[in-house]
Amino acid sequence: MLNQMKEETIMNNLKNFTKGFFRENPVFILLLGLCPTLGVTTSAINGLAMGLATTFVLIGSNVVIALIKGLIPDKVRIPSFIVVIASFVTIIDLVMSAYVPALYESLGLFIPLIVVNCIVLGRAEAFASKNTVFSSLIDGLGMGLGFAFALTLLGGLREILGSIAIFNWKIFEGIARLINPATDYTQPDGILVFVLAPGAFFGLAYLIVLMKKISK
């Protein structure tokens, strides 16, 4: 009896973890948090950094909100959630500006804007305020990594098409260097529109189509 319950909770937690990637992927399926998705994904590294920062905030806020869910009066729950989320955003904001200043510069305003990210508030309201601490932790981790996965995918696509590079490694030049280290070959510009805002919409639209095809 006890064993069976344990197995069930493990299965539940596993489900909570994996649903963020495909079945309930925040970007591709729920279409939440599109503002940073469209705004920062000019390169794969930007997408990954933004995704990981959001993951940190999600885990932190989910755990704390699950801990104090009994203390929060129902009428002021949204402001209370925002205060908790804002504290974690402040932490990640200061940490990033201290240790990765270049990345912090390129992400700019989008790091403080995690406070109003729909995914973070959405998981707090829909999951953490109703579930246990541990499953909230798993949910935050899964959702956050799903978000990071989506942003890295979109950022990678836009970087490959827009500047013919991946994780800041210029593909044509890199291959030319591998063949002949002394070469002074410079690669051409990519399809510029993918670095600009319209490219984000194109990329996201076709990735959603692809995800729909895969998850069928």
Binding site: D189, I191, L192, V193, F194, L196, P198, F202
Partner: protein, 334 residues
């Protein structure tokens, strides 16, 4: 039995002689004069760009239908050929082949087949391809080769700016319009005949108007859209020119340069992406004219026809809804 041979069906009982194929071949015929002018001025390059654009458009249409849409192949109806020709007309003649192929992929793949093929696309495919290329490859898309009559030698031609770009640059540097026009190498006659820098098919106003008259005669287009676009641009720029002839270009200059004639006659009149009623077409044309002048006079780009048409394409469903004709027999509530 005789009774079985009597077919009772819904109207229409009689069909016109128009089919997609007929209309598309009419459009292609109407584009021949402009094509000949472009070959005359840009030489072999004009044919090269046209062939690559048409071949890749037809190929992508076939590919997307084979893989994604399935069902009856429609590459024989000629719409891909028209898209390819219009795309070629909208780019400089010295464009590298791979950029043309990307343009064709965007025009057919993103703008047309994603929405379900001919008849379902909200935006003009060729224009989406052109604007995509203009934003993606600004250097290649704005280095216009200088025209040289019947130059079939495959040498790299000199490049020069379009008249619109010359005027825009001059006005930005604080020169007066009359002094810019005095130093301009082109006369109005050159602009009329096509002896100016620019995209392949947009240079000769006369050839484009000839094609437009042909389409009007064949009833492929109606007068509403071209007349309202050209009229709006003429009136708007005439007012500006009247206010201050030193800082605003003259209406004749605006009408004869850039892609206005090509846009008004061939691009904006696309049946799929323009309004259905005459009144709607007039509203659509006025909108295109106003946005074109706004971009040309105050915008960052020297030319705005393609952006104007795409913006108004997005409004077409609203115009259709707004100016719906009254059903026969419907009473008007007072």
């Amino acid at each position: 039995m005789a009774i079985n041979k009597l077919t009772v069906s819904m109207s229409p009982h009689d069909y016109g002689k128009y089919s997609v194929k007929k209309i598309m071949s009419g459009v292609v015929l109407a584009m021949i004069p402009a094509l000949l002018v472009s070959v005359y001025y840009f030489g072999f390059d004009a044919i090269r760009v046209n062939l690559i654009a048409i071949a890749s458009c037809v190929f992508f249409e076939w590919l997307f239908q084979k893989i994604f849409i399935k069902g009856k192949l429609t590459i024989n109806d000629g719409s891909a050929v028209v898209t390819g020709m219009l795309l070629a007309f909208n780019v400089p003649s010295n464009l590298p082949w791979w950029i043309i192929v990307i343009g064709a992929l965007v025009a057919i793949g993103i703008a047309k087949m994603t929405f379900g093929g001919l008849g379902n696309n909200p935006f003009n495919p060729a224009l989406v391809g052109r604007v995509f290329l203009l934003i993606s490859f600004p250097v290649q898309m704005t280095s216009w080769p200088k025209v040289s009559v019947l130059n079939f030698a495959m040498t790299d031609a000199q490049t020069g700016a379009t008249p619109l770009a010359i005027v825009k640059e001059g006005l930005k540097n604080g020169e007066s319009y009359s002094s810019i026009m005095n130093s301009m190498p082109h006369e109005y006659v050159d602009m009329l005949m096509g002896n100016i820098g620019g995209s392949l098919g947009e240079i000769s106003a006369v050839a484009l108007i000839l094609g437009g008259l042909f389409m009007l005669f064949r009833k492929i287009i109606t007068w509403h859209i071209p007349v309202s676009i050209i009229g709006t641009v003429a009136i708007f720029t005439a007012i500006l020119y009247g206010i201050n002839p030193e800082t605003y270009a003259s209406p004749v200059f605006h009408l004869l340069t850039g892609g206005l004639m090509l846009g008004a006659i061939f691009m904006a009149t696309d049946m799929v992406t323009s309004p259905m009623t005459g009144k709607g077409m007039l509203v659509y044309g006025v909108g295109i004219g106003v946005i074109t002048v706004l971009i040309r006079v105050w915008g960052a780009y020297p030319e705005g026809v393609s952006f104007a048409i795409l913006i108004m394409n997005a409004v077409v469903p609203l115009i259709n809804n707004w100016l719906k004709p009254k059903r026969f027999g419907e009473t008007i509530k007072k």
